[in-house]
Assembly symmetry: D2
Homo-oligomer: 480 residues x 4
Amino acid sequence: MDKQVPLCAVACMSCPLTPLFSVLLTLLAASYTDSSDDETSPRDKQQKNSKGNGDFCIKNIKQADFGRREIEIAEQEMPALMALRKRAQGEKPLAGAKVVGCTHITAQTAVLMETLSALGAQCRWAACNIYSTQNEVAAALAEGGFSVFAWKGESEDDFWWCIDRCVNLEGWQPNMILDDGGDLTHWIYKKYPNMFKKIKGIVEESVTGVHRLYQLSKAGKLCVPAMNVNDSVTKQKFDNLYCCRESILDGLKRTTDVMFGGKQVVVCGYGEVGKGCCAALKAMGSIVYVTEIDPICALQACMDGFRLVKLSEVIRQVDIVITCTGNKNVVVREYLDRMKNGCIVCNMGHSNTEIDVASLRTPELTWERVRSQVDHVIWPDGKRIVLLAEGRLLNLSCSTVPTFVLSITATTQALALIELYNAPEGRYKQDVYLLPKKMDEYVASLHLPTFDAHLTELSDEQAKYLGLNKNGPFKPNYYR
Amino acid sequence: MDKQVPLCAVACMSCPLTPLFSVLLTLLAASYTDSSDDETSPRDKQQKNSKGNGDFCIKNIKQADFGRREIEIAEQEMPALMALRKRAQGEKPLAGAKVVGCTHITAQTAVLMETLSALGAQCRWAACNIYSTQNEVAAALAEGGFSVFAWKGESEDDFWWCIDRCVNLEGWQPNMILDDGGDLTHWIYKKYPNMFKKIKGIVEESVTGVHRLYQLSKAGKLCVPAMNVNDSVTKQKFDNLYCCRESILDGLKRTTDVMFGGKQVVVCGYGEVGKGCCAALKAMGSIVYVTEIDPICALQACMDGFRLVKLSEVIRQVDIVITCTGNKNVVVREYLDRMKNGCIVCNMGHSNTEIDVASLRTPELTWERVRSQVDHVIWPDGKRIVLLAEGRLLNLSCSTVPTFVLSITATTQALALIELYNAPEGRYKQDVYLLPKKMDEYVASLHLPTFDAHLTELSDEQAKYLGLNKNGPFKPNYYR
Amino acid sequence: MDKQVPLCAVACMSCPLTPLFSVLLTLLAASYTDSSDDETSPRDKQQKNSKGNGDFCIKNIKQADFGRREIEIAEQEMPALMALRKRAQGEKPLAGAKVVGCTHITAQTAVLMETLSALGAQCRWAACNIYSTQNEVAAALAEGGFSVFAWKGESEDDFWWCIDRCVNLEGWQPNMILDDGGDLTHWIYKKYPNMFKKIKGIVEESVTGVHRLYQLSKAGKLCVPAMNVNDSVTKQKFDNLYCCRESILDGLKRTTDVMFGGKQVVVCGYGEVGKGCCAALKAMGSIVYVTEIDPICALQACMDGFRLVKLSEVIRQVDIVITCTGNKNVVVREYLDRMKNGCIVCNMGHSNTEIDVASLRTPELTWERVRSQVDHVIWPDGKRIVLLAEGRLLNLSCSTVPTFVLSITATTQALALIELYNAPEGRYKQDVYLLPKKMDEYVASLHLPTFDAHLTELSDEQAKYLGLNKNGPFKPNYYR
Amino acid sequence: MDKQVPLCAVACMSCPLTPLFSVLLTLLAASYTDSSDDETSPRDKQQKNSKGNGDFCIKNIKQADFGRREIEIAEQEMPALMALRKRAQGEKPLAGAKVVGCTHITAQTAVLMETLSALGAQCRWAACNIYSTQNEVAAALAEGGFSVFAWKGESEDDFWWCIDRCVNLEGWQPNMILDDGGDLTHWIYKKYPNMFKKIKGIVEESVTGVHRLYQLSKAGKLCVPAMNVNDSVTKQKFDNLYCCRESILDGLKRTTDVMFGGKQVVVCGYGEVGKGCCAALKAMGSIVYVTEIDPICALQACMDGFRLVKLSEVIRQVDIVITCTGNKNVVVREYLDRMKNGCIVCNMGHSNTEIDVASLRTPELTWERVRSQVDHVIWPDGKRIVLLAEGRLLNLSCSTVPTFVLSITATTQALALIELYNAPEGRYKQDVYLLPKKMDEYVASLHLPTFDAHLTELSDEQAKYLGLNKNGPFKPNYYR
């Protein structure tokens, strides 16, 4: 194997809203983990579940009960997958499917995996991130018969070893890929290109993974159809607008206990993420300024009641700076130098590029870690700025993502697998596809019962008048 | 001429947000008009402006001064067109253009026409609606040298006569069409098909007109390029979301003086129009229910804090019913029968089809006109419902549309004309086009100074990182 | 009679929220009035109602039908008075009461008067303002047997003559006073001081009238108990906070059609009126600045998300200036000189003192009346500011007040009359009283059914725990 | 000593917003504490600070550095106290004051104590709650020379011992009392009644303590003036409305990670606490129902856009139940039985009486502790409800209170001490007083610089017109 830098770390950065887990859950999990905390690598242990099955590699099978409870809690907030299980009791739309997956391994993923299984699929799974595995959930999955290869705190070598163990098995060959970040896909391309002959399709949910697929497609090297889950309407709206509306408040409170009322905040970028942050902070009594490069988003910010400024105009007066641009070097050292004492700086956007954190690693500045994920950077004159998560994504690091939001993405993944697996030959070529609008609508409809929401149905006459099918799709593809 | 039913009336219905004018303006205008209120048809009068020019047909040239003041007021809220005039003082991008137009004739249109003229164009103009002409504005335009053929209260025959007078002139032939509803385009197709040889393009802004163009295109009969202004991002967002957010409150207050606080309201449809109505009413303390057919919009409504219901569930309890669906027969007699006493019913959506008003024209119900645009419909048991604008568009009939919003559309029209007129041969085929994203962004940028809004510019490094041109476009075409 | 300046004009200014009527209603009424528009003074006409009764003096008894319809419409929004009528069908708590009243004469007042009558009272009524009488309502009241003396456009002499006609009648002497502004009370003090021997109490609702009563009380000259309706909780909250939240938008739209989104607004004063204005404008997407003199209100503004500034800091940049201070000379010429072109200036506070309008009456400035209640004041360099209602109260002049809000005040007046009339001797001395908290709560409870609102009742155990009576009062008197 | 039940535990319950500390801070502190976690009682240890002073009793003097950092962080959010320190550098308004205090011992209290010291006072301090002491802060105070007697986890006997050590010292006698809950005051009454001869006054901030003082006053047993800090305007508005607006979201997120968008919530009680909770949840997209017993608050809820219901009407459908009534048995077993699976139940109001938690301690229900402060109560059919903090105050237990809010209370306490200590004889009798309005305003003004807020000053002419002193007070005492 050539010395490939794993994209695992990058991947989780660039797809802020893939399955996360909360600080608290982690702490809880940690306390459980501690009790069994031996230093032996899972690769060196031989474990079996209660049925004698040992085809997995996880931290500690004994944590299975605790993990099962976490999964059960998650099930309550994932009504759509539970509904899919029920509907599929008769038919098994994934009968015969052999899914190899590489995602964050959390309670929500477990609900997805057990749903795929209920629909008829066999699953083998690895983690897409070396830190994000909930060991007790992995234990519960292993106990339930899933071949899981993942633990919290894998080394780089462990990471690829786990992926390989998922794929490389005598007498078993995957016919579907569910990926988050593209590392699994990459590995098969590199090591087992022949496998693609039997593979019916790839479902990918991250920005990074999708970007790679488009590059493959452009280069003519994509050899199976792929479904781009990242750009579905529901994911964009829910993962970005609605989720950030909640997590910006949560992330700031958990790290700094800051009071929002009366605070002056500048939000850099007024896309969906910025819109969510601005709406929440305005609602809580903050005075919010917005910076933008795109005149259309800028005009939206104006009409929504935000002063549109350049960062330099307000940098001396604001109490909080939040980046949501997807760009790099938005908050540079020059701005950090001009912030006032106590200013909080954090990133809700993309990766860890938006704030030029590297520029703060200079001898005249002192760093002081005051809490987990919270650093004070101290200037020679005593001025402190409060840097959160070292400029990485705030909501990945410091808040939770509601299970309900994850449910939407997980359901989309499940439907994408079903669609690719069952599509008649020729429907999909060796290209990257968006989920058909109608399936997007179906995912949404599966989540309405949570809100006790009652959809209206078109009459025949109305459907005819509008030129629509009564069952949708109801909007053009570009509708947002 | 074959007995063609004019689409003028329909047109204004189906494009709710094309240039309108307020009740008050109309009343004011009316009072001026009254003083000169002779019964002679403009077609039978011979009028000349102060320079001796008589190539126009309007109500009364003496109203020019009053019209000029209205135009000047409008200019102050149309900064983008005024900026275009300034930038074009040197070059004349429409030099040689002969534009024939058919739109509502209002102060805002006048600002557009005078801008086109400043950019080098010659203009001849008719009204797209037999009721909507502001006579005093038409007078000011005629006084200023424009060949305008329009007055308030045209007959159907007048309507087509005016259009014909615009087009059919010895020694003058249009090379650009600016249409609103498609009647002008239709007339030229019918009567002077040869004119299309010299015509470089059509700019159309209404839903109806655009629909007709797509049909022509599909049928292979479109013989020049056409620009669909209706579906530009700015128009969708500003004309629908933001404009309705303001006009729903205005329309309801002016007609009914209703107090919003604590009122129970059901909004049918959660597209851009519905979103605007719901946001405004919620902000003013109403309790808002939403009905939807599309699960994605339904889920948005839920996340935005609205109970999603079927109309039948709440129809007995609500104080106000607002339709925004674009559909027909959304509020049918059955629902009207079940509303409570005093319930207000109005339409913000499409045409006059959403409320089944015809079903209320039955002998057992009494209609009482209590104010202009306000009818009480009285059931045998004394129950009254308050029907606004007889189910036609509330904001067309009962409120004003901010000039600023009209400015965005007018600027888009001007830029579309410039683009089509100056495009190198081959850039546009005989098809219907959306305005390039970049021009959409340009329109937005011209409106930012109104808000004293300061756009951020990408650095070279950032532009490269994002793979964008520093001057835009900044978003994919499907971005909303 | 000594040359007493009538306080009628002042009175309506200083009690912004006493019964008003809308521009539209006025226009409507005007059109009806016009048809019978003779120049004869009502004092010179001899009219009788259909039953031969002629003890009234109004414009035109023939308008009674139209007035009746207006009253019926008002009844629908005044549920509490209608409920009082029902409850009083058996007992007549005002049997024997002879009420002389002096208020605005509008449809809402008519509902109050007819309620008092249903409760057993005899009523004679005059107008408290020379302009505010709805002639058709006065006609309906006269037709219904009420002795009304009032018309729109009284002279000063007419004003006092009407009051005198109410009071000075052979064989009839009032025993209760319902006043709005204090002119009626003043007249009786001046002319018929002996009448107070039989008078059981005064109910007064205006700031001015209450102020006069406190002065009388302080001077030891108040000779009957008086009830201060103005300072009841419900009136403060509903007339100020909630009512202004609605009427600021309405008043600005009807006069200027201004778009709220993105506008910069400064609101001077953050009391209840200012809080209402700020909340509404923020909700509609304006950027709102606040000025304050009181640090506590200032801190509230900050926590509510408004930048607290001095007027001089933002006067050059704002699009709208609104005064709500109750103070004088808040917007002086110096500030008016520095406003930008097109700035809108209006007053929601107190009287017409807040904007120094007099300072604009100088030769170098040109005034241009562009609409009713809207003046452009033009500087030598062409700059215009848009002055609304010449600095008088915007919501008195340019918008409507919801009948529902008036209902709260009218109900409070009725209950105050009942309380004073029926109170056992000794409960009230010759002093000014606030309505007992419990009656305030009762007024509120009568308005809950409008919202289909269901109150929770304390269990015996809970009441005991809280040390409260199960039927209230539930809060201390200072609770707001 | 007679067997007195300490009110310490009750006290913190009944004054929800006295100095709290966050879960996270506690966890952090815990981790530090752990390292030195010996089982020896502080009472059995002999410690001295670096200057050899041993007049204190705390957990571990070695934690002083960590505590100092916490204090420094708090100083940044307590601008008013820091300003007081500066202003008092010349004069020492508390010179000679000997203050004995009994409050929560947190970083914020430390800032208050060090301010009192800077103003000239000597301080001895005990904890008002056996759990709430931040050991590291107590260490920093002891290191700084303060006589502190407090640690986390005192026994009941320790509690009174600590208080006694503060008071009972050879050659030192307090002349001022700062109390929170009334235990210190009670102790002196019981044990050292003669001390009151030298005591100039008591400052008390809790509901419970104030209640006791009023009882003493009523019984004629209050022997020194007392200042009721609890009922000052700023405390009511800031501690209740604004603070709860922030802490309800924080408390729910930290315990349950619940998504707010679309959730149905019922808030019991619409006082300041309820208003804060409702505003926040509505802003985040929840659908909020309100229950009330008081018709005035009920009408406010209606006008603010909330459906007013009885709990029984919505109990089956809501996702979250929040009590804010100050009452008992608001959520009884009957309602708990009818809640749907997964319903979250918590208390933001008063003490732990609002939810009848005792009724859930029955054999057929299973309790499962799923996280700290989070219990699942499980019905025989598998239904779970999620009970937070066992029905105790959510924001005391599960969220943080912004230091800025605590700053307002602490500043009020400092000013009350200064006022009582310096008041000329006769200004205050042996009674309970509210802080003069003017000092309330002064507290507010000291907090405005945090928001860079600029107050407007009255001109002489304006002050005269309003009949106000230019320096306040600006409002009547009942103003809220």
